[in-house]
Symmetry: C2
Subunit: 190 residues, 2 copies
Amino acid sequence: MTDREALGCWEVLDRECVADASPYLKLHREKVRLEDGRVIDDFFTLEEPDFAVVFALTRRGEAVVIWHYKHGPGRVNLGLPAGYVKDGEEPLAGAQRELLEETGYTAPDWRHLGSFSVHGNRGCGKAHVFLAERAERTAEPAADDLEEIRVELIPRAALWEHITKGDVATLGAAAGMALGISASGEGRGE
Amino acid sequence: MTDREALGCWEVLDRECVADASPYLKLHREKVRLEDGRVIDDFFTLEEPDFAVVFALTRRGEAVVIWHYKHGPGRVNLGLPAGYVKDGEEPLAGAQRELLEETGYTAPDWRHLGSFSVHGNRGCGKAHVFLAERAERTAEPAADDLEEIRVELIPRAALWEHITKGDVATLGAAAGMALGISASGEGRGE
């Protein structure tokens, strides 16, 4: 066990692109020097665009969620409005755009709940998680995603059951819902 | 917008391995047919081992967390005991092993909080998230991970501040903490 202050970083000694599907994905083989001096010749990392995830609640405390097929888990599952942040776009603007495009909802109150690397070892871009409150439907959804989407309103208190029974299949949606539930409960005696 | 029942799955028409770093990682280029019939020639997916993540609480309500460098975010950050599930190992057994190896803690009460694909589009293996309660330190940590680790006990109520101020850098740790906080608060009037 080490003192926190003594923890060091790895050093990248060399980096080679072994698969390039820009702008969506680049796989790199890195030669890295660990904190203890050991050198690893083939540590793989993945470069991908960041994305934004939105936990939106209506005034009545319903979460704006979506049912959609996702190819990672390979099944139809319960997720959150989310999508890649565009070049030059702020994560918050990307979150607002994705919420509107995928669900037709807009909201006056936004809060950043954190930005997290999707993959602890490989990177894979960051997930920027946002809470949107007092969301209202103000337009028709107009997403041009690869997946078809069904929007549903689910009371915040009922989401936990969907999570525990396996309806939520991706880590990003699980994190967004759990963080959103915690953050929106603050200061309400919950 | 589509009825939930009408949502379909994609069909994989062809699949080619474009980078093989087994057993840790395999990158595939897939030719897929979407729900609406369109065919995409180059959708990339990643095959990786599943891993287990543990949110462990002591009898006094302290979370057993770790400080460590992770190469995905590229910095020292606050995470949870976690690691790859071995071939033929049950996810729960992997979770118990990782908790013991990384922190020296064991626990009598375990609960599965969900299993989630790390990456909604690419797969990247599943994160199996567990809550362990009444954890006690019963051994010396003996991890042989690439990263050095510092174990810390943080009161469950103080974790939220660490999350919001950016100490938690990976989606797996954020999901594990937020799910664990919600699940361990159930039935306690919280």
